[in-house]
């Protein structure tokens, strides 16, 4: 129980920081994504490090909290945006599960992180979280004026943000990762 709380709290802090950094770059137009969506990298990292249940609640709370603050905790026109945050939190779990179920990768080769598989996970995750949004966002009555621009902007921002965050994370925590023989 203590581990559960501790790891969820760490996940919460990491995801909150990664989301908070990019708030100034948010767009009002939902067709355009934030061009460096760092939270995708942080959600992948914490899910891989701590496991599904020990990170999911922390991720979800952090993303919902920032979304709530940005939207003044108003529910009505933004309910589908909040559902988008649930999708963002579930995305890494679904992608990791997919890669494990199809026996493509466990992300570690003899205890060391396989970075090629992590890069693919970022790409897969970006697709997994973007496709449902194309169908869910318009349900609230908000039209997506250009679904093609929406998809390309969201997928590219997720990939760029994910890779940048993971690269920065590895650079920052290199000594710890080397000490644990992970890289």
């Amino acid at each position: 129980m203590l581990d559960f709380l501790k790891f969820n709290l760490i996940s919460f802090v990491i995801v909150l920081i990664s989301r908070w950094i990019i708030v100034p770059f948010d767009h009002i137009d939902i067709s355009l994504a934030n061009y460096m969506w760092l939270p995708i990298g942080s959600t992948i990292i914490v899910t891989l490090m701590f496991g599904f249940s020990r990170s999911f609640y922390g991720i979800l709370t952090a993303l919902l909290l920032v979304a709530g603050i940005n939207k003044g905790f108003v529910w009505d026109p933004y309910q589908f945006s909040y559902i988008g945050k649930v999708i963002d939190s579930l995305g890494p779990i679904v992608s990791i599960m997919m890669m494990r179920v199809f026996q493509l990768s466990d992300f570690f080769d003899s205890g060391k992180v396989n970075h090629l598989h992590i890069v693919f996970l970022v790409i897969l995750n970006s697709i997994v979280v973007t496709l449902p949004k194309v169908f869910i966002y318009p349900l609230g009555g908000k039209e997506i004026p250009d679904p093609v621009a929406f998809m390309s902007s969201y997928i590219s921002s997720d990939i760029v943000g994910g890779l940048v965050f993971i690269y920065a994370f590895v650079l920052l925590f290199k000594p710890i990762l080397i000490k644990n023989k992970l890289i």
Binding site: M98, F102, Q103, S105, F120, L131, F135, P147
Partner: protein, 179 residues
């Protein structure tokens, strides 16, 4: 030369079979058993990059023979881009899996069905995304994006898996009998 003929003919046969099983009612409607994706996936598994030209020829021939729908949607230019998407998407999926060292698809000369299933799903995802974008950009269709995506995505996954698994199992039985 043989590679081109084999890969193009397998695509033409699969398209004909698909359309005879479920003819499209209107152009933007996908087919819930889109076998050609399986044929293209199989071509790449067997011949790798050498199949690209054959697959492209196959999709073009299929378009002329069976997909009269092209003329109602956007003509030959539309069909040419659709064919290119049909060729590129599975190859992109194939390259993604190979370049990221996820799978060689065969373990000790045995087919890994799980990896091939993932290959089909990834190909269908890329294909559905590109075709969806192309349809929205090239035509002024007012079809619901979710309906269109569902048709393409589901149809390609089901058709692709049915075709690949059926043919590979058949091939497996055939090889065992020969032994």
């Amino acid at each position: 030369m043989n590679t081109y003929i084999q890969s193009s003919s397998i695509v033409v046969v699969a398209t004909g079979l698909s359309l005879s099983l479920q003819p499209p009612i209107y152009s933007e409607q996908g087919n819930y058993l889109w076998l050609p994706l399986g044929a293209i996936v199989l071509s790449y598994l067997l011949f790798e990059y050498k199949a690209i030209l054959g697959v492209f020829i196959g999709t073009m021939i299929s378009g002329f023979l069976f997909l009269d729908a092209w003329s109602s949607v956007g003509g030959y230019r539309f069909g040419l881009i659709e064919s290119a998407i049909a060729v590129i998407s599975p190859y992109l999926a194939f390259l993604s899996i190979r370049k990221f060292e996820l799978s060689p698809f065969f373990n000790n000369y045995k087919i890994n069905f799980r990896h091939i299933t993932f290959f089909v799903i990834l190909s269908a995802t890329y294909d559905a995304m590109f075709k969806f974008s192309h349809l929205l950009l090239a035509t002024e269709s007012d079809i619901s994006p979710s309906l269109l995506m569902r048709h393409y995505f589901l149809g390609e996954i089901i058709g692709g898996l049915v075709f690949v698994i059926f043919l590979l199992k058949l091939f497996d039985i055939f090889v065992k009998r020969l032994k």
